[in-house]
Symmetry: C2
Amino acid sequence: MGTPEELLDRTLLLTTLLSADMDAFSERTGLSQARIHLLWVLGAEGPVTQRALAAALGVTPRNVTGLVDGLERSGHVTREPHPDDRRALLVTPTALGAEVVATLTAGHRDLADALFGSLSAADRRRFGAMLDDVVASLVQALEEQR
Amino acid sequence: MGTPEELLDRTLLLTTLLSADMDAFSERTGLSQARIHLLWVLGAEGPVTQRALAAALGVTPRNVTGLVDGLERSGHVTREPHPDDRRALLVTPTALGAEVVATLTAGHRDLADALFGSLSAADRRRFGAMLDDVVASLVQALEEQR
DNA sequence: AGAAAAGGTGAAGTAACTTCACGATGAGGT
DNA sequence: ACCTCATCGTGAAGTTACTTCACCTTTTCT
């Protein structure tokens, strides 16, 4: 109990569970992970160009075209002309899209409370500090192997 | 600093980084995530039927057929007849496949050490305990919302 | 022996990705 | 003004990971 590998496995278990949580949301809304992710970014950044979305999502611009196509069909976003640049389009959430975003952020908050709300402030600080260390180690490990 | 939401965000960052690490491995080996996952299970369980793989991976048996097709083409596994059941096939790693599995488990160990090796035993225990609590909370949250 | 269940695959379809080519617009230098 | 070059989005074509449904073969159960 408490070996590095056990900790890693438990962390990986956590990631699978988190992804299960997202899948549940996905099922409830009928939206794919990719489209939810796009809406999430849209909620954080407000109306943006597809190019910006591609950068934020880490995918090619061409792929964003397809995702926006789907979200437009399902009535979650619209493509508005960019006021200053006639090449660009501003992807904008509709009322329905904004509603999903609101549900999304509410779910995020609820999940955070469910997971960490019961911890004492001191424990949260300790956990956060350790998490930071782990993240830093991981970033370093990633850079080294490249 | 240290609010539940910040902790969740940092945890999500950790999952992103872990997935980046897997992507890096994927790139190095030229194998997709799905095929690596299959090989990983194969490494843990030894030669098994496709049915068993489907259950372990949480996908349909039909999908496993396709994944094994790919791994067979790339020379990582073979389909051996099952000694007791002529319907079934035993997916078996080749020498190349076994090598990838070995690299995989070595990478897993190295990553665990890189992330948690520098922590004191007491810290590891504390972190593990908190991780357990968080996982338990998450499991409960998942059950409630269903 | 006969029915039902289990193992694997063909066929067909969806979604998320990619690269490459191309048309339209914007921006900078001369 | 003009030409070049970068940038925004999309059509075309292809890959991979998935799904469901139908089907054949073999095992298992009564």
